[in-house]
Every structure is written in C-alpha cells, then in structure tokens.
Symmetry: none
C-alpha cells in the first residue's frame, strides 16, 4: 500500500460555490484525502456554505489553504494531473481516472496534485499547460458534463480502490454445511418425495432429483439453513401445528 | 458491446430530498442510464427541486415512475443489486461497484435493478433480502458515509467504464426467474407455513422468513426451478400421491 500516507493534494481553481467546495471536502474525507487548496475562490473565503456541505469533513474545510494563483498553489508539487472534459487542443497525454490512480500509487513518494477547474468553464489552457497529464472521466455523449463534486468523487474513489485504505469486507458468513449435512437433508427430502410418489417413474427421477438437489447445492447453505429447511419440509409433510 | 442498450433501472427507495433525486437523475444521464423508479418518495412527487438539480436530465426526472413498494418497483426485474454501507448481518454476497458492473455487463439481457436506500438510514433488511448481491463502495474508515448522489455517480461510472468493452460471458444459463415469479413462490410457501403456524410468533417470523427466503434468492433460480419448488411444497403439504 505505497500511497496510503501520501494522497494527492486537491487544488480547486477559481471555484465559485461554497457548496461545491464543501462537497469536494466531503469526498476527500470519504476517500482518505486531506490536503485541500483553493485558488482565488470567487465568493471569498471562508464560506459557511462549504462547511454545511462538508459532512464529516469540517476539518478539511478549516485546514484549506488559499492561494492567488495556480503556480503558487502548486509550490512543492512535483506531479500534476488536470481534470478536463474531452476535447482539448493542447497536446498532453489523456488518461482515465483509473490510470491516474495507478500512476499516483506507483509514485507514492512524489508530491502530487489533482487540479479541478471552475464549475462552468473548467480549467483554462494556462492551467492545463502545467499538468503532466490530463484526466478525463468517461461519460455518456448525451450528457457528458460532470460537476465538481461528481468529478472529485470519482477521482477519490479510484485512488481509494487502489490504496487498500480499509476496504469494505464481505459480511461474516456462517460455516458452510458439510456434505454429510447436505446428504442428510437430501435423504430426508427424498424419503418424503418417494412416499408421495413425486417422481412417478424411476427414469424420470434421476434427472428431476439431480435438478432439485442442485438448487440447494447452489445456494451454498450453512448448517443452520440446512436445519431450517429440514424443519420446513417436515412441518409441510406432517401438516403438523408446531 | 453487450450492455450498451440495457443499463439497469435505478430504484430509489423512500428517498427524502428532491435535490438528491435530481442529482441521481443527472448522474444517470451522465453515464447512460434512463430508467428511474421511485418507491414512496417522502416529500411527494413530482418535486420541483428534483428538476432543478437534474442538469441535462430533466427527461429522466419527468419519466420517473413512482411505486408504493419495492416489490412493485421490481416487477419484471430478474436481478437486483442493493447498495449498502458495510456490515449487514444478512448472508449475501458483497461485491464492489466494479464487480457489479462486470456482472451486469456479462448479463446484459437480464433485466436488472440497482437499489438505493433512503438518505439517512439506508435500505432496510426487508429491501436487502430481495437482492442477489450487495454492493459496497470502498471508502475511508475516517468518513465512510457517502450520500445518494455520490453513490449513484460511482455505480454509474463503473458501468459506463465497462460498456463498450467486451466482457467475458458466463456459461449459458436458463432465464433467471423474475422477481414476480419469486414472489409467487414465496407467497405460496408463506401461505402453507402460516397455516401450519410454522413461525409461532409474529416477532420471530420477520427474521425467520427473511432467512428462509434468502436461501432461495441466493440460489438464483430460473423459472423452471421455481415451478419445481412450487410443485414440491404443494405435494408435501397436500401429502397427495401425484
């Protein structure tokens, strides 16, 4: 997990709405980023709307640093990725969020920044020129435009996926029933079905009984579930009030 | 490009804020989804705030269909993925958004739905039980909670990344039973078990019945298998020679 301790800085260039800054801070916190830098926020700073939107990420908003220019915000940074929508005429490598995350993880010790442009217009060429690569998020041609919050979620998510930061684990599973327990259930059910002449003829039985058992094998039952099913078929068969 | 024409339906269960519904619609449009279904939206429907937030996706908001219950919203759907945060005690497969997208692409012709819970509480066990798998988005332990808009962006993004990519197909499968057929089987079985007083008390029934249904949901039954199981329980119950 090379990058775990070195997430990139997030640099918002001339952001307008405090809400969006707060939403970015929240996404940062969701995916393990901490360093927020603002270049010339249009509605001034601090901005109470940013705090409102930064659920669980108030500390990131409070610690945000403000700069007048992009180069000032990038001081000390050695590698810059600029997020853009498709179709820039500057000759730069264009990579996916996934590729960007892979590159950042592979160079975890290189101080890195992710640059996001203003809401309406995106980054200007003067900003883009500073980047080592452009990151474009694949979207539908019908409605390709993502907002700042959405873009930061996706970049954060791809980074988090790779860094191994405390990834969700599958729910605890009960022990799978043993083959013996399964066979006990099958014998039990087969006894009832034979008594009812369910299979009608021995020739039909082979395939029918295979298919029926297969349903329960596929379900990967645990031992409690096997006991439950045995109770169900017994009660059904005996038509007995429990 | 197997899945290009068959994006999953997005089902928002008891969503509260129109803003969030609009943000989800926007994300749907960004990533090529079209079918939005709302279950019992808390602030009523239509909701003008949804339209305001649905930049470029007004048509999705307008075409959204409203249902009273989750099963009603899932009519005609054969495969359900439920988004949850970590730590559910229902025994289900837990997969990543990426895995979910891969599975959806591999079964592009299977009518599929993605289930999202209410903003504060997430999906209830009664909803989750209907799912074939749970989808959990990896997040930082520091601030693991994503909002509806963020979650839908990530699921849409992963799906969009893969469509147009040739994904390996699973072995030939019989048509998965629709959720309606499954419900028919469950109603059938529940009728018998209630008649036998199998569950004993209403308090016990909730969990017992969830666990029992979950066995059959996990088995991913096809429609022939559902008919077989209905025949088995009927014959057992009626103790009738076939």
């Amino acid at each position: 997990m090379p990058a775990e301790n070195n997430p990139p800085a997030i640099v918002l260039v001339r952001p307008q709405l405090g809400e969006n800054i707060g939403a970015v801070a929240r996404a940062m916190s969701n995916f393990g980023f901490t360093d927020l830098r603002l270049v010339a926020p249009k509605n001034g700073w601090p901005n109470p709307r940013a705090v409102d939107m930064a659920v669980g990420a108030g500390h990131i908003v409070e610690a945000a640093r403000v700069f007048e220019t992009v180069p000032a915000a990038l001081r000390g940074v050695a590698r810059v990725y600029a997020t853009t929508s498709r179709g820039r005429d500057i000759e730069k490598r264009v990579i996916s969020p996934e590729q960007a995350a892979q590159e950042m993880c592979a160079r975890a010790n290189v101080p890195t920044a992710l640059l996001f442009g203003p809401e309406r217009t995106g980054l200007e060429n003067e900003d883009i020129i500073l980047a080592d690569a452009l990151v474009t998020i694949p979207t539908s041609a019908e409605n390709p435009s993502l907002n700042l919050a959405q873009s930061s979620v996706i970049l954060g998510y791809e980074w988090c996926k790779l860094t191994g930061v405390d990834v969700a684990r599958p729910a605890q599973e009960g022990a799978l029933a043993s083959k013996e327990e399964m066979q006990g259930f099958f014998d039990h059910l087969e006894g009832y079905l034979d008594a009812l002449d369910y299979f009608r003829t021995p020739e039909k039985k082979t395939v029918m009984w295979q298919n029926l058992r297969n349903i329960f094998i596929r379900a990967e039952l645990n031992d409690q579930e096997v006991r439950t099913l045995r109770g169900v078929i017994r009660d059904l068969y005996k038509r007995r009030k429990a």
